[in-house]
Protein backbone atom coordinates (compact mmCIF):
# COMPACT_ATOMS: atom_id res chain seq x y z
CA UNK A 1 0.00 0.00 0.00
CA UNK A 2 1.07 3.59 -0.51
CA UNK A 3 -0.78 5.11 2.43
CA UNK A 4 2.01 7.57 3.14
CA UNK A 5 2.44 8.65 -0.45
CA UNK A 6 1.77 12.17 -1.49
CA UNK A 7 -1.74 12.52 -2.93
CA UNK A 8 -0.17 14.08 -6.04
CA UNK A 9 1.80 10.94 -6.85
CA UNK A 10 -1.36 8.83 -6.86
CA UNK A 11 -2.80 7.70 -10.16
CA UNK A 12 -6.40 8.49 -11.06
CA UNK A 13 -8.91 6.33 -12.88
CA UNK A 14 -11.08 7.77 -15.67
CA UNK A 15 -13.90 7.98 -13.09
CA UNK A 16 -11.96 10.10 -10.59
CA UNK A 17 -13.93 13.31 -11.23
CA UNK A 18 -17.17 11.38 -10.90
CA UNK A 19 -16.14 9.99 -7.48
CA UNK A 20 -15.27 13.45 -6.22
CA UNK A 21 -18.52 14.94 -7.56
CA UNK A 22 -20.50 12.16 -5.82
CA UNK A 23 -18.83 12.99 -2.50
CA UNK A 24 -16.53 9.96 -2.46
CA UNK A 25 -14.06 9.85 0.42
CA UNK A 26 -10.82 9.37 -1.49
CA UNK A 27 -7.97 7.26 -0.10
CA UNK A 28 -4.75 5.83 -1.54
CA UNK A 29 -5.20 2.24 -2.72
CA UNK A 30 -2.64 0.28 -4.77
CA UNK A 31 -1.16 3.53 -6.05
CA UNK A 32 -4.53 5.04 -6.99
CA UNK A 33 -6.67 7.72 -5.40
CA UNK A 34 -9.86 5.71 -4.89
CA UNK A 35 -13.22 6.16 -3.15
CA UNK A 36 -13.38 4.11 0.06
CA UNK A 37 -16.99 5.17 0.58
CA UNK A 38 -19.59 7.72 -0.49
CA UNK A 39 -21.80 9.78 1.83
CA UNK A 40 -24.18 6.83 2.39
CA UNK A 41 -21.40 4.95 4.21
CA UNK A 42 -20.02 1.41 4.04
CA UNK A 43 -22.95 -0.26 5.80
CA UNK A 44 -25.67 1.18 3.55
CA UNK A 45 -23.56 0.67 0.43
CA UNK A 46 -22.98 -2.97 1.34
CA UNK A 47 -26.66 -3.66 2.06
CA UNK A 48 -27.78 -1.78 -1.06
CA UNK A 49 -25.55 -4.02 -3.21
CA UNK A 50 -27.04 -7.15 -1.64
CA UNK A 51 -30.61 -5.87 -2.14
CA UNK A 52 -30.49 -3.79 -5.31
CA UNK A 53 -27.38 -2.90 -7.31
CA UNK A 54 -24.02 -1.29 -6.66
CA UNK A 55 -21.68 0.36 -9.16
CA UNK A 56 -17.96 -0.05 -8.44
CA UNK A 57 -15.01 1.56 -10.18
CA UNK A 58 -12.43 -1.21 -10.58
CA UNK A 59 -10.48 0.61 -13.28
CA UNK A 60 -7.32 0.38 -11.18
CA UNK A 61 -7.19 -3.30 -12.07
CA UNK A 62 -5.11 -4.35 -15.05
CA UNK A 63 -6.62 -5.39 -18.38
CA UNK A 64 -4.49 -7.28 -20.87
CA UNK A 65 -4.97 -8.97 -24.22
CA UNK A 66 -2.98 -12.04 -25.29
CA UNK A 67 -3.07 -12.33 -29.07
CA UNK A 68 -1.62 -15.51 -30.59
CA UNK A 69 0.99 -14.77 -33.26
CA UNK A 70 -0.18 -17.87 -35.16
CA UNK A 71 -3.78 -16.65 -35.17
CA UNK A 72 -4.87 -19.80 -33.31
CA UNK A 73 -6.44 -19.12 -29.91
CA UNK A 74 -5.33 -22.57 -28.76
CA UNK A 75 -1.70 -21.47 -29.09
CA UNK A 76 -2.35 -18.54 -26.74
CA UNK A 77 -4.22 -20.83 -24.33
CA UNK A 78 -1.42 -23.41 -24.31
CA UNK A 79 1.13 -20.65 -23.78
CA UNK A 80 -0.79 -19.23 -20.79
CA UNK A 81 -1.02 -22.75 -19.33
CA UNK A 82 2.76 -22.51 -18.83
CA UNK A 83 2.05 -19.85 -16.14
CA UNK A 84 -1.20 -20.96 -14.46
CA UNK A 85 -2.48 -24.33 -13.14
CA UNK A 86 -5.86 -23.84 -14.83
CA UNK A 87 -7.19 -25.47 -17.97
CA UNK A 88 -7.13 -22.51 -20.34
CA UNK A 89 -7.49 -24.57 -23.54
CA UNK A 90 -10.96 -25.70 -22.41
CA UNK A 91 -12.30 -22.16 -21.92
CA UNK A 92 -14.90 -21.95 -24.70
CA UNK A 93 -15.20 -18.79 -26.77
CA UNK A 94 -17.38 -16.35 -24.84
CA UNK A 95 -16.48 -17.88 -21.48
CA UNK A 96 -14.26 -16.77 -18.58
CA UNK A 97 -12.41 -18.63 -15.82
CA UNK A 98 -10.69 -17.74 -12.51
CA UNK A 99 -6.94 -18.50 -12.45
CA UNK A 100 -3.70 -17.85 -10.56
CA UNK A 101 -0.18 -17.09 -11.71
CA UNK A 102 2.07 -19.36 -9.64
CA UNK A 103 5.77 -19.18 -8.79
CA UNK A 104 8.43 -21.89 -8.66
CA UNK A 105 7.62 -22.56 -4.98
CA UNK A 106 3.95 -23.14 -5.76
CA UNK A 107 2.99 -19.77 -4.27
CA UNK A 108 0.56 -17.37 -5.92
CA UNK A 109 1.95 -14.33 -7.76
CA UNK A 110 -1.52 -12.97 -8.51
CA UNK A 111 -5.05 -14.14 -9.15
CA UNK A 112 -6.81 -13.20 -12.35
CA UNK A 113 -9.72 -13.69 -14.72
CA UNK A 114 -9.12 -15.18 -18.17
CA UNK A 115 -11.73 -14.84 -20.91
CA UNK A 116 -11.71 -16.39 -24.37
CA UNK A 117 -12.74 -13.67 -26.84
CA UNK A 118 -12.47 -15.97 -29.85
CA UNK A 119 -9.32 -14.60 -31.43
CA UNK A 120 -7.53 -13.59 -28.23
CA UNK A 121 -7.53 -14.04 -24.45
CA UNK A 122 -8.65 -11.16 -22.26
CA UNK A 123 -7.12 -11.00 -18.76
CA UNK A 124 -8.07 -8.94 -15.69
CA UNK A 125 -5.41 -8.78 -12.96
CA UNK A 126 -4.97 -7.01 -9.63
CA UNK A 127 -3.90 -3.35 -9.54
CA UNK A 128 -0.90 -3.86 -7.24
CA UNK A 129 0.41 -6.73 -9.39
CA UNK A 130 -0.39 -5.52 -12.89
CA UNK A 131 3.06 -4.24 -13.87
CA UNK A 132 4.74 -7.40 -12.56
CA UNK A 133 2.11 -9.55 -14.29
CA UNK A 134 2.69 -7.84 -17.62
CA UNK A 135 6.47 -8.29 -17.29
CA UNK A 136 5.90 -11.94 -16.34
CA UNK A 137 3.74 -12.49 -19.42
CA UNK A 138 6.25 -10.73 -21.68
CA UNK A 139 9.17 -12.72 -20.26
CA UNK A 140 7.47 -16.08 -20.78
CA UNK A 141 4.94 -15.74 -23.61
CA UNK A 142 6.42 -13.25 -26.08
CA UNK A 143 7.44 -16.08 -28.39
CA UNK A 144 3.82 -17.10 -28.97
CA UNK A 145 1.73 -14.03 -28.13
CA UNK A 146 1.54 -10.31 -28.61
CA UNK A 147 0.81 -8.87 -25.18
CA UNK A 148 -1.26 -5.69 -25.12
CA UNK A 149 -1.77 -3.71 -21.97
CA UNK A 150 -5.23 -2.18 -22.34
CA UNK A 151 -4.40 0.85 -20.22
CA UNK A 152 -6.88 3.05 -22.09
CA UNK A 153 -9.89 1.19 -20.71
CA UNK A 154 -11.88 1.63 -17.52
CA UNK A 155 -13.58 -1.23 -15.68
CA UNK A 156 -16.97 -0.88 -14.02
CA UNK A 157 -18.55 -3.60 -11.89
CA UNK A 158 -22.32 -3.62 -11.54
CA UNK A 159 -23.30 -6.03 -8.77
CA UNK A 160 -26.47 -7.13 -7.05
CA UNK A 161 -29.93 -8.60 -7.75
CA UNK A 162 -30.98 -5.53 -9.79
CA UNK A 163 -27.79 -5.48 -11.89
CA UNK A 164 -29.40 -7.49 -14.67
CA UNK A 165 -32.48 -5.30 -15.01
CA UNK A 166 -30.37 -2.13 -14.85
CA UNK A 167 -27.93 -3.32 -17.52
CA UNK A 168 -30.69 -4.82 -19.70
CA UNK A 169 -31.96 -1.28 -20.42
CA UNK A 170 -28.59 -0.49 -22.04
CA UNK A 171 -27.51 -3.91 -23.34
CA UNK A 172 -30.17 -6.24 -24.75
CA UNK A 173 -27.93 -9.32 -24.49
CA UNK A 174 -27.24 -8.90 -20.75
CA UNK A 175 -30.16 -11.06 -19.49
CA UNK A 176 -29.19 -13.99 -21.70
CA UNK A 177 -25.65 -14.11 -20.31
CA UNK A 178 -24.86 -16.81 -17.72
CA UNK A 179 -22.32 -16.65 -14.89
CA UNK A 180 -18.82 -16.36 -16.38
CA UNK A 181 -20.03 -15.61 -19.91
CA UNK A 182 -17.78 -12.91 -21.38
CA UNK A 183 -17.50 -11.09 -24.67
CA UNK A 184 -17.79 -7.87 -26.65
CA UNK A 185 -21.20 -6.20 -26.32
CA UNK A 186 -22.55 -2.73 -26.91
CA UNK A 187 -23.69 -0.98 -23.74
CA UNK A 188 -25.58 2.29 -24.28
CA UNK A 189 -24.18 2.24 -27.82
CA UNK A 190 -20.57 2.00 -26.56
CA UNK A 191 -18.37 -0.91 -27.63
CA UNK A 192 -17.58 -2.70 -24.35
CA UNK A 193 -16.41 -6.10 -23.10
CA UNK A 194 -18.99 -7.51 -20.70
CA UNK A 195 -18.66 -10.49 -18.39
CA UNK A 196 -21.26 -11.86 -16.02
CA UNK A 197 -19.00 -11.90 -12.98
CA UNK A 198 -17.74 -9.77 -10.14
CA UNK A 199 -16.25 -10.23 -6.70
CA UNK A 200 -19.12 -9.66 -4.29
CA UNK A 201 -20.90 -13.04 -4.32
CA UNK A 202 -23.81 -11.34 -6.06
CA UNK A 203 -25.04 -11.79 -9.58
CA UNK A 204 -23.61 -9.00 -11.68
CA UNK A 205 -21.45 -7.80 -14.51
CA UNK A 206 -18.04 -6.33 -15.15
CA UNK A 207 -17.93 -3.88 -18.02
CA UNK A 208 -14.65 -2.91 -19.69
CA UNK A 209 -15.25 0.41 -21.42
CA UNK A 210 -12.96 2.80 -23.34
CA UNK A 211 -11.65 5.40 -20.85
CA UNK A 212 -13.18 8.27 -22.81
CA UNK A 213 -16.69 6.79 -22.49
CA UNK A 214 -16.38 5.60 -18.90
CA UNK A 215 -17.88 8.56 -17.07
CA UNK A 216 -20.81 8.79 -19.47
CA UNK A 217 -21.55 5.08 -19.03
CA UNK A 218 -21.19 5.22 -15.24
CA UNK A 219 -23.51 8.24 -15.02
CA UNK A 220 -26.04 6.51 -17.28
CA UNK A 221 -26.02 3.44 -15.02
CA UNK A 222 -26.28 5.64 -11.91
CA UNK A 223 -29.38 7.33 -13.39
CA UNK A 224 -31.19 4.06 -12.63
CA UNK A 225 -32.84 4.48 -9.21
CA UNK A 226 -31.74 0.94 -8.25
CA UNK A 227 -28.04 1.70 -8.80
CA UNK A 228 -25.89 3.36 -6.16
CA UNK A 229 -22.13 4.10 -6.21
CA UNK A 230 -20.16 1.80 -3.89
CA UNK A 231 -16.66 2.33 -2.52
CA UNK A 232 -13.78 0.02 -1.71
CA UNK A 233 -14.92 -0.36 1.91
CA UNK A 234 -18.11 -2.17 0.98
CA UNK A 235 -16.35 -4.03 -1.83
CA UNK A 236 -14.08 -5.53 0.82
CA UNK A 237 -16.89 -6.46 3.24
CA UNK A 238 -18.92 -7.96 0.35
CA UNK A 239 -16.04 -10.12 -0.91
CA UNK A 240 -15.24 -11.19 2.65
CA UNK A 241 -18.84 -12.35 3.22
CA UNK A 242 -18.59 -14.14 -0.14
CA UNK A 243 -15.50 -16.01 1.13
CA UNK A 244 -13.40 -14.70 -1.75
CA UNK A 245 -9.63 -14.24 -1.40
CA UNK A 246 -8.03 -10.81 -1.44
CA UNK A 247 -4.60 -10.95 -3.05
CA UNK A 248 -1.79 -9.88 -0.72
CA UNK A 249 -3.92 -10.81 2.29
CA UNK A 250 -5.59 -14.24 1.95
CA UNK A 251 -3.30 -15.43 -0.82
CA UNK A 252 0.27 -14.44 -1.67
CA UNK A 253 3.59 -15.85 -2.82
CA UNK A 254 3.71 -18.04 0.32
CA UNK A 255 0.38 -19.83 -0.23
CA UNK A 256 -0.36 -22.56 -2.74
CA UNK A 257 -3.79 -22.89 -4.37
CA UNK A 258 -4.43 -26.02 -2.26
CA UNK A 259 -3.53 -24.32 1.01
CA UNK A 260 -5.81 -21.46 -0.06
CA UNK A 261 -8.72 -23.92 -0.55
CA UNK A 262 -8.85 -23.00 -4.24
CA UNK A 263 -8.74 -26.63 -5.48
CA UNK A 264 -12.04 -26.01 -7.29
CA UNK A 265 -10.23 -23.56 -9.59
CA UNK A 266 -7.72 -26.18 -10.82
CA UNK A 267 -9.29 -28.48 -13.39
CA UNK A 268 -8.58 -32.23 -13.49
CA UNK A 269 -6.74 -31.93 -16.80
CA UNK A 270 -3.89 -30.10 -15.05
CA UNK A 271 -3.71 -32.36 -11.99
CA UNK A 272 -1.76 -35.62 -11.66
CA UNK A 273 -2.99 -38.09 -14.29
CA UNK A 274 -4.70 -35.35 -16.31
CA UNK A 275 -4.30 -34.79 -20.05
CA UNK A 276 -1.97 -31.79 -19.50
CA UNK A 277 -0.85 -32.41 -15.92
CA UNK A 278 1.69 -29.99 -14.51
CA UNK A 279 3.79 -27.77 -16.72
CA UNK A 280 3.15 -24.62 -14.68
CA UNK A 281 5.52 -22.98 -12.16
CA UNK A 282 5.59 -24.82 -8.83
CA UNK A 283 3.72 -27.79 -10.30
CA UNK A 284 5.70 -30.31 -8.26
CA UNK A 285 4.69 -28.75 -4.94
CA UNK A 286 1.13 -27.91 -5.94
CA UNK A 287 0.45 -31.39 -7.34
CA UNK A 288 1.99 -32.93 -4.19
CA UNK A 289 -0.50 -30.85 -2.19
CA UNK A 290 -3.33 -32.21 -4.37
CA UNK A 291 -2.09 -35.78 -4.02
CA UNK A 292 -1.12 -35.82 -0.35
CA UNK A 293 -2.79 -32.76 1.15
CA UNK A 294 -1.24 -29.56 2.46
CA UNK A 295 -0.27 -29.09 6.08
CA UNK A 296 -2.33 -25.92 6.45
CA UNK A 297 -5.52 -24.59 4.99
CA UNK A 298 -7.58 -21.42 4.57
CA UNK A 299 -10.72 -21.52 6.69
CA UNK A 300 -13.73 -19.35 7.38
CA UNK A 301 -14.39 -18.20 10.95
CA UNK A 302 -17.52 -17.01 12.74
CA UNK A 303 -17.27 -15.28 16.11
CA UNK A 304 -19.64 -15.71 19.04
CA UNK A 305 -19.57 -12.09 20.12
CA UNK A 306 -19.86 -8.87 18.16
CA UNK A 307 -16.21 -7.83 18.28
CA UNK A 308 -14.66 -7.97 14.79
CA UNK A 309 -11.53 -10.10 14.50
CA UNK A 310 -9.18 -8.34 12.09
CA UNK A 311 -6.33 -9.29 9.79
CA UNK A 312 -3.22 -10.24 11.76
CA UNK A 313 -5.03 -11.60 14.84
CA UNK A 314 -3.31 -14.76 16.07
CA UNK A 315 -5.36 -17.96 16.34
CA UNK A 316 -5.05 -20.42 19.23
CA UNK A 317 -6.45 -23.88 19.90
CA UNK A 318 -7.10 -23.10 23.57
CA UNK A 319 -8.66 -20.32 25.60
CA UNK A 320 -5.37 -19.71 27.45
CA UNK A 321 -1.71 -20.53 26.91
CA UNK A 322 -0.13 -22.45 24.07
CA UNK A 323 1.56 -21.32 20.87
CA UNK A 324 -0.47 -19.69 18.09
CA UNK A 325 -1.76 -22.23 15.54
CA UNK A 326 -2.50 -19.72 12.81
CA UNK A 327 -3.42 -16.23 11.82
CA UNK A 328 -6.37 -14.25 10.49
CA UNK A 329 -5.74 -12.97 6.95
CA UNK A 330 -9.00 -11.02 6.45
CA UNK A 331 -11.58 -10.12 9.01
CA UNK A 332 -14.19 -7.60 9.87
CA UNK A 333 -17.85 -7.06 10.32
CA UNK A 334 -20.27 -8.67 7.87
CA UNK A 335 -23.12 -6.17 7.44
CA UNK A 336 -25.47 -8.72 5.81
CA UNK A 337 -24.93 -11.12 8.72
CA UNK A 338 -24.81 -8.36 11.32
CA UNK A 339 -21.90 -10.31 12.80
CA UNK A 340 -18.12 -10.54 12.57
CA UNK A 341 -16.58 -12.83 9.95
CA UNK A 342 -12.98 -13.70 9.22
CA UNK A 343 -10.77 -16.03 7.27
CA UNK A 344 -7.32 -17.29 8.05
CA UNK A 345 -4.92 -20.21 7.99
CA UNK A 346 -4.64 -23.10 10.47
CA UNK A 347 -3.07 -26.58 10.41
CA UNK A 348 -5.27 -28.88 8.30
CA UNK A 349 -6.04 -30.95 11.41
CA UNK A 350 -7.83 -27.90 12.87
CA UNK A 351 -9.64 -26.93 9.67
CA UNK A 352 -12.77 -29.10 9.99
CA UNK A 353 -16.11 -27.28 10.17
CA UNK A 354 -17.29 -26.55 13.72
CA UNK A 355 -13.75 -26.71 15.14
CA UNK A 356 -13.49 -24.31 18.09
CA UNK A 357 -10.63 -21.82 17.98
CA UNK A 358 -9.69 -18.60 19.75
CA UNK A 359 -8.45 -15.32 18.34
CA UNK A 360 -6.34 -12.98 20.41
CA UNK A 361 -7.86 -9.49 20.28
CA UNK A 362 -6.52 -6.79 22.60
CA UNK A 363 -5.11 -9.37 25.00
CA UNK A 364 -8.32 -11.42 25.19
CA UNK A 365 -9.05 -14.77 23.55
CA UNK A 366 -12.33 -14.56 21.69
CA UNK A 367 -14.06 -17.86 20.82
CA UNK A 368 -14.50 -18.63 17.10
CA UNK A 369 -15.90 -21.52 15.09
CA UNK A 370 -14.59 -22.79 11.77
CA UNK A 371 -17.48 -22.08 9.39
CA UNK A 372 -18.39 -22.88 5.80
CA UNK A 373 -17.74 -20.26 3.15
CA UNK A 374 -19.27 -18.36 1.53
CA UNK A 375 -20.71 -16.82 4.68
CA UNK A 376 -23.48 -15.32 2.52
CA UNK A 377 -24.88 -17.63 -0.17
CA UNK A 378 -23.87 -16.47 -3.63
CA UNK A 379 -26.55 -15.69 -6.20
CA UNK A 380 -24.69 -16.31 -9.46
CA UNK A 381 -26.90 -16.99 -12.53
CA UNK A 382 -25.50 -20.35 -13.57
Amino acid sequence: MLARDDKDSLKRTPLHDLHVSLGGKMVPFAGYDMPVQYPAGVLKEHLHTRKQAGLFDVSHMGQLALRPKSGSIEDAARALERLVPQDIVAIAPGRQRYAQFTNEDGGILDDLMVANFGDHLFLVVNAACKDADEAHLRAHLSDTCVIDSLADRALIALQGPKAESALAKLCAEAPSMKFMDAGPHEVAGIKCFVSRSGYTGEDGFEISVPATDAEHLARTLLDDPDVMPIGLGARDSLRLEAGLCLYGHDIDTETTPVEAALEWSVQKSRRSGGARAGGFPGAEKILAHFDHGASRRRIGLRAEGRAPVREGALLFADSAGGEPVGKVTSGGFGPSLNAPVAMGYVPTALSALETKLFAEVRGQRLPLTVAAMPFVKNTYKR
Binding site: V36, V42, G233, D236, S237, R306, A307, R310, P335, P340
Partner: protein, 122 residues
Protein backbone atom coordinates in the same frame (compact mmCIF):
# COMPACT_ATOMS: atom_id res chain seq x y z
CA UNK B 1 -24.00 23.20 35.80
CA UNK B 2 -22.23 21.05 33.23
CA UNK B 3 -19.13 22.08 31.33
CA UNK B 4 -18.12 20.19 28.20
CA UNK B 5 -14.45 19.96 27.26
CA UNK B 6 -12.66 18.22 24.39
CA UNK B 7 -9.37 16.41 23.79
CA UNK B 8 -7.22 16.64 20.69
CA UNK B 9 -7.93 12.89 20.24
CA UNK B 10 -11.64 13.69 19.75
CA UNK B 11 -13.10 12.63 23.09
CA UNK B 12 -15.61 14.88 24.84
CA UNK B 13 -16.21 15.01 28.57
CA UNK B 14 -19.16 16.62 30.29
CA UNK B 15 -18.15 17.63 33.80
CA UNK B 16 -20.69 17.73 36.60
CA UNK B 17 -18.99 18.23 39.96
CA UNK B 18 -16.29 15.56 40.30
CA UNK B 19 -17.90 13.23 37.75
CA UNK B 20 -17.22 13.38 34.01
CA UNK B 21 -19.27 11.64 31.31
CA UNK B 22 -17.03 10.65 28.39
CA UNK B 23 -17.72 9.93 24.73
CA UNK B 24 -16.32 10.55 21.26
CA UNK B 25 -17.16 13.66 19.29
CA UNK B 26 -19.54 13.96 16.39
CA UNK B 27 -16.50 14.83 14.26
CA UNK B 28 -14.82 11.56 15.33
CA UNK B 29 -17.84 9.43 14.48
CA UNK B 30 -18.12 11.08 11.06
CA UNK B 31 -14.48 10.17 10.38
CA UNK B 32 -14.86 6.59 11.63
CA UNK B 33 -17.98 5.80 9.62
CA UNK B 34 -20.49 3.11 10.59
CA UNK B 35 -19.77 1.92 14.12
CA UNK B 36 -20.46 -1.80 14.59
CA UNK B 37 -18.93 -2.54 17.99
CA UNK B 38 -17.90 -0.65 21.12
CA UNK B 39 -15.75 -2.15 23.87
CA UNK B 40 -16.12 -0.32 27.19
CA UNK B 41 -13.93 -0.35 30.32
CA UNK B 42 -15.03 -2.39 33.35
CA UNK B 43 -16.83 -0.50 36.09
CA UNK B 44 -14.41 -0.01 38.97
CA UNK B 45 -11.33 0.13 36.74
CA UNK B 46 -8.96 2.99 37.52
CA UNK B 47 -7.86 4.78 34.37
CA UNK B 48 -4.81 6.97 33.92
CA UNK B 49 -5.14 10.00 31.68
CA UNK B 50 -4.29 9.11 28.03
CA UNK B 51 -4.58 5.37 28.69
CA UNK B 52 -6.58 3.33 26.14
CA UNK B 53 -9.97 3.03 27.84
CA UNK B 54 -12.38 1.86 25.14
CA UNK B 55 -12.40 0.68 21.53
CA UNK B 56 -14.70 1.74 18.70
CA UNK B 57 -14.89 -0.56 15.70
CA UNK B 58 -16.25 0.61 12.38
CA UNK B 59 -16.86 -1.81 9.51
CA UNK B 60 -13.27 -1.25 8.39
CA UNK B 61 -11.11 -0.53 11.44
CA UNK B 62 -10.68 -0.45 15.20
CA UNK B 63 -9.83 2.80 17.00
CA UNK B 64 -8.80 3.35 20.61
CA UNK B 65 -10.61 5.81 22.82
CA UNK B 66 -8.30 7.32 25.45
CA UNK B 67 -9.17 8.34 28.99
CA UNK B 68 -9.29 12.14 28.83
CA UNK B 69 -8.63 12.27 32.55
CA UNK B 70 -7.51 9.97 35.38
CA UNK B 71 -10.06 8.39 37.69
CA UNK B 72 -12.30 5.45 38.52
CA UNK B 73 -14.92 4.20 36.06
CA UNK B 74 -18.30 4.56 37.80
CA UNK B 75 -20.71 3.47 35.09
CA UNK B 76 -20.72 2.40 31.44
CA UNK B 77 -23.38 2.82 28.76
CA UNK B 78 -24.94 -0.62 28.21
CA UNK B 79 -27.05 0.76 25.34
CA UNK B 80 -23.93 0.78 23.15
CA UNK B 81 -23.54 -3.00 23.33
CA UNK B 82 -27.02 -3.48 21.91
CA UNK B 83 -26.89 -0.56 19.48
CA UNK B 84 -23.35 0.53 18.51
CA UNK B 85 -24.84 2.71 15.74
CA UNK B 86 -25.96 5.15 18.45
CA UNK B 87 -22.41 6.48 18.19
CA UNK B 88 -23.19 7.59 14.64
CA UNK B 89 -26.63 8.97 15.37
CA UNK B 90 -26.08 10.70 18.72
CA UNK B 91 -22.36 10.80 19.54
CA UNK B 92 -22.45 13.65 22.00
CA UNK B 93 -25.48 12.63 24.06
CA UNK B 94 -27.13 9.18 24.01
CA UNK B 95 -23.90 7.47 22.93
CA UNK B 96 -21.83 8.42 25.99
CA UNK B 97 -19.24 5.72 26.79
CA UNK B 98 -18.52 5.86 30.51
CA UNK B 99 -18.69 8.04 33.61
CA UNK B 100 -15.51 8.59 35.57
CA UNK B 101 -14.80 10.08 39.01
CA UNK B 102 -12.24 12.81 38.36
CA UNK B 103 -9.12 12.06 40.41
CA UNK B 104 -7.28 15.31 39.77
CA UNK B 105 -9.06 18.42 38.50
CA UNK B 106 -5.76 20.02 37.50
CA UNK B 107 -5.67 17.56 34.58
CA UNK B 108 -8.59 19.45 33.03
CA UNK B 109 -6.23 22.34 32.30
CA UNK B 110 -4.93 20.91 29.03
CA UNK B 111 -8.36 20.29 27.49
CA UNK B 112 -10.15 22.42 24.90
CA UNK B 113 -13.45 24.25 25.12
CA UNK B 114 -15.93 23.97 22.27
CA UNK B 115 -14.54 26.95 20.35
CA UNK B 116 -10.97 25.64 20.58
CA UNK B 117 -12.10 22.15 19.52
CA UNK B 118 -13.99 23.59 16.54
CA UNK B 119 -10.81 25.37 15.49
CA UNK B 120 -8.85 22.13 16.01
CA UNK B 121 -11.09 20.19 13.60
CA UNK B 122 -11.65 22.98 11.09
Amino acid sequence: MTTTLYTSDHEWLAIDGDVATVGITDYAQSQLGDVVFVELPKVGRTLKKAEAAAVVESVKAASDVYAPISGEVLETNDALAAEPALVNSDAQAAAWFFKIRIADKSELGGLMDEAAYKAHTA
